[in-house]
Amino acid sequence: MNGSASIVGVGATEFSKDAGRSETRLAAEAIVAALADAGLTTDDVDGLVSFTVDPVEETELVRSLGIPAVRWSSRIPYGGGGSQGMFQHAAAAVLSGAAETVVVYRACRSRSGKRFGRARVAPEPVSGHSGTTAMQWATPFGVLTPASWMSFESTRYMHETGTTSADFGRAVVQFRAYAATNPAAYFAERPITLDDHQNSRWIAEPAIRLFDCCQETDGAVAMVVTTADRAADTPAPVEIAAAASVALFEEEVASNHYRPDLTRFDGAAAVGESLFRTAGIERSDVDVAMIYDAFTPMFFLQLEALGFCGHGEAKDFVADGHLGPTGDLPCNTNGGLIGEAYIHGMNLTLEAVRQLRGQSPNQLADPHVALVSAGRTGVVLRR
């Protein structure tokens, strides 16, 4: 793509376990907040992007917001793994001229409504284009939840690399430390020790304990994307230096059971290569990384796939303290999906923007480059 696009506004509702209002209302509230943040109004919006699995009906959303004319809209597949693809779609739209100002949003009631982590046995063939065939192949065998679908690559990874549950736990302790000082986090003021992690119950043994699991959250996040030229007139723009999406043959989201080597996240490696090349940066240029921690093992696989450490070395990278505020790669400074909330990856991008604007609850010293990885999609943001 020629030129670049920018995120010019961010907005979110509170993150809770019971929002007490519809996803449509949550989305509308987050969008109004994002537009106000950008100094724009609904009259400026002519494009919309969300997830294929988002429950908000676009017609109802537009009816509530009073957007005069939607000239372009799209939805991204692959669930949370596809989340950062929204910025690729939005950037493509504003740079092609299909739209001028695009709102991206995700609203969910994944705790009070249809719980993400529930055990479900009513199989669905394609589960809303989320990129998983797990339902039909896993349901008769009691493999009923995202944690159980993702436990297989995790166990194999532990087997091949010698990584232990305690190694995973060291990353969680850091995420929970960040969450402890983030007032918006579910685990605000509730840090844990490694013992606490090791004493949390098994969800999927030997890889995933309760404290390795992301939250189930009610809430919404929205952002406003426009061209860098128009962004110059807004108060706090952040450039989308690169946005990438890679879906590899036989690599499924969550139910990744059929790639030859499940201990390597090849799709994330391809996303990383694309991001670094497009943004024209080295790994050492990344000041803060937000990496999709649906379950701790998935964080380890991405850390390695993105090239921040070698295969099987994530345990050492984490133990050396690199994820912390003074480490080589501060990660998930909002507490991540494990510590803050689970708005399907969107709150990771929100924190990346906050860091670059100097608005994080765990503000780093003058970061200029943030990387967000959702595995199959990612962005590099820059100011």
Partner: protein, 135 residues
């Protein structure tokens, strides 16, 4: 105490041959009639040669554990816990998600040789695996 009954698999046009064979007590995996490629999960076309002539062919039913997991929570009344879940690499090549039955959870490990057996659902048997004693 009777064992809880598993939920029936979801039948689709692409996977019906797999579940129908299992209901007859056979483990059959999709193979391309044209180029002989084994593939699982089954699909509408052979991705190697684009043939649409695909058959479900009986396999030996032997393989080894590629990965495993003991599922403790959340629990559903259709299963006994912990669920011993495995990914098995069949001798013919494809990988298949299933359960290991008749085994102590503490004995499950990568590389364990296994042999197919079958377990009932509300609508026909599905393939599960037992530890194979090497002779």
């Amino acid at each position: 105490m009777t064992e809880p009954l598993r939920p029936a698999p979801l039948r689709t046009e692409e996977n019906d041959g797999f579940w129908s064979a299992a209901a007859e007590g056979r483990l059959a995996v999709q193979r391309c009639d044209a180029c002989g490629r084994w593939q699982h999960p089954p699909r509408a076309m052979c991705p190697a040669c684009h043939a649409t002539a695909l058959s479900f062919v009986d396999v030996a039913g032997t393989g080894e554990v590629y990965s495993w997991s003991l599922l403790h929570h959340p629990q559903h009344p259709s299963f006994s816990y912990p669920v011993v879940a495995v990914l098995v690499t069949l001798d013919e090549g494809p990988r298949i998600l299933s359960n290991l039955v008749g085994v102590e959870p503490a004995e499950v490990r990568v590389g364990l040789p296994v042999q197919v057996t079958f377990a009932p659902t509300a609508e026909g048997d599905v393939p599960v695996f037992a530890v194979r004693e090497l002779s």
